[in-house]
Point group: C2
């Protein structure tokens, strides 16, 4: 086990009816900005529940935060926050809304120049507005971590930052808010959670048994509930609750304590989204099998452990195939060509990642030099 520091002060309120408890969690007298996305929260009743809970607060709304939240949009919220003296941000939505709100919280208090430097130049965040979350789309784990990914339209960059100051003060996870999600978003959420686990697990076999078995627990559970989720007639509360909690614990720091990590699928996937606007989950379903095949030799012991414990096979190749077929079973095409993407994209991804000159993922066997081969294998 490697040395590690762990800290996660997010308060979780999980279950039916928990939205009603928001008011006890936001300091009295604070002016609240409610941030959200495309407006589905208005049709599925979540917005009404939130507004009822906030009836004793002054609330301003900031809707229209996009999937892969855009810097340009978020900076409009920052200006409004500063202009209207907002004291608390309540993000109601999925990972994009939460990530965007974290950026708003940090940028609104940023005094070190251009807020874009927070993601582009590692500018240090030392203060941020307090954030609360009402989660409606289990996927990114953003509701219980300190990470944020932001996209800049003008330069087609998708970049991230992390700061303990943007941990949500609380997150409400009511599985019933997921009932109106379309299958495509369920599929993306399942893939995102699955790959988050793999990136903290599919590395080295060192006998970190608690962390490994926790990771395998989440992977097995996702494999088990995915067909149920995709084929539900009426939404089933227990399925939705298990899915919601699986996605949260996939990236809240618990399984990442003291283990090697490899975030290359996310790094490469972010470029595909930035260049082609692809769904985040879809990019991961394309890239991860490529990363796994490229590292099947160098990570043999861990791959065999994964094969045996998650898929019940002693055959490493079969485990990689099973992983890719699992993504396909969710209705996702796992080849670049199926999304109209050709070899020219490989050049562009390589060029962009070389320019940034940051390590790719965290393990030496996935790097800027074998990136071309990995992506070529996914055409």
């Amino acid at each position: 086990m490697e040395n590690f520091n762990y800290y996660n002060p997010v308060q979780i309120l999980f279950g039916k009816g928990k939205i009603a408890e928001i008011a006890a969690l936001i300091p009295k007298g604070f002016k609240v900005m409610l941030t959200y996305g495309g407006g589905s929260i208005k049709s599925n009743g979540v917005h009404a529940q939130v507004m009822r809970a906030l009836r004793n607060y002054e609330v301003v709304e900031f809707g229209g935060i996009e999937p892969n939240p855009r810097y340009e949009t978020l900076m409009k919220a920052v200006q409004q926050v500063q202009r209207e003296n907002i004291g608390f941000l309540l993000a109601v939505g999925g990972g994009s809304v939460i990530d965007g709100t974290k950026f708003i919280a940090a940028a609104a208090c940023f005094r070190g120049g251009d807020p874009w430097d927070i993601v582009a130049a590692g500018a240090r965040v030392t203060v941020a507005l307090p954030i609360g979350v009402v989660l409606t789309l289990p996927a990114t784990g953003s509701e219980m971590n300190a990470n944020s990914v932001v996209t800049r339209d003008s330069t087609r960059e998708k970049l991230s930052f992390a700061s303990k100051y943007v941990f949500p003060r609380f997150s409400i996870l009511d599985p019933e808010t997921t009932y109106s999600l379309p299958p495509r978003q369920l599929a993306n959420g399942i893939i995102d959670a699955f790959v988050h686990v793999m990136e903290q697990y599919y590395t080295v076999a060192r006998g970190d048994e608690i962390q490994d078995r926790f990771s395998e627990s989440i992977l097995k559970t996702l494999v088990e509930i995915a067909p149920r989720l995709m084929q539900e007639g009426a939404p089933d509360y227990q399925n939705r609750a298990t899915f919601t909690w699986a996605a949260t614990v996939a990236l809240n720091g618990w399984i990442g304590c003291g283990v090697a990590q490899d975030w290359s699928s996310h790094h490469i996937g972010h470029e595909l989204t930035a260049l082609h606007g692809m769904d985040h989950g879809v990019t991961l379903a394309i890239v991860l099998p490529g990363v796994m095949r490229a590292t099947a030799g160098s990570r043999r012991p861990k791959l065999l452990q994964y094969a045996e414990r998650v898929w019940g096979t002693d055959n490493a190749d079969q485990a990689i195939d099973a992983t890719e077929r699992f993504f396909q079973s969710l209705g996702v095409a796992t080849r670049l060509s199926a999304h109209g993407i050709g070899a020219d994209t490989i050049d562009r991804v390589e060029q962009r990642l070389r320019q940034r000159a940051i390590p790719l993922g965290g393990m030496p066997d996935v790097n800027i030099d074998n990136l071309r081969d990995i992506l070529a294998s996914r055409l």
Copy 2:
């Protein structure tokens, strides 16, 4: 899954050399009380490491906190804290020292009358001194939770309280501090952690797959590393690290989210310790097999899940036998009679638990009425 709230702000610093980082975590200028137990930290070098890290602080020492920390002892510390204007408590030791320090922290700020009411009458804790922890004995999980158990000598009572105000601000978990532990303390720690998991797991089979599999992960890991730990020649870092982390996550709230719980083995075990001074771990090794046999019918589905996933058998009785044999393999006698305890103790335990009139554990199938049978089966 049941509705739940989760909150755990304890900062964990895990690994070799982490004690040196203490100074960055305690506010400058605070007068620190270092609390500890019987003095083993002086012979194994931990005390020297801590004092080196605290060289720029004014430190007073309070040693002699007993296993099953005594109210009478802790109140002496409370008086010293108040007299000497202590601003920070640093607990260096195992669960007893940490639990005792939590009580000191709460009692020193308690203005509601007799501090014993905190454990005996559920008096509300609304403020406490800040606490830090250097863990030396993996077992109770107290380093990462808000619980404390205190024993009063004069009335032979062992009672508990919980308050978010006594979460440690930080806990240092350096597996090397465990190298000097005698086998008896390793065994007790393994049993305590195992039973903590069982009390959050061996209840109902409802398909809470994340929590169930996390629990099974810890149980399987403890079963796997126990023989290695008990038969180590020289201490092995990876074994100690896995054990340390297993004991922490067994009772830091992670596996308990949204699941049914049954703390009857601890409740009954506390009475045996209070009456006979038995090691906490030994009492659990005696009681849990009795609880399991008494509930083998009412909890059949969960027992069969446990049998299959932890012990690889489809036979429920064999799984209970395997559990008891596991405790015995650690050198612990699992019958009351082997510890010189007879049927008269059953009367006394029943009488004491009836007087307290609190629910026994949390599941209806273990209660004050079948308590006699459970204990009689363990004579």
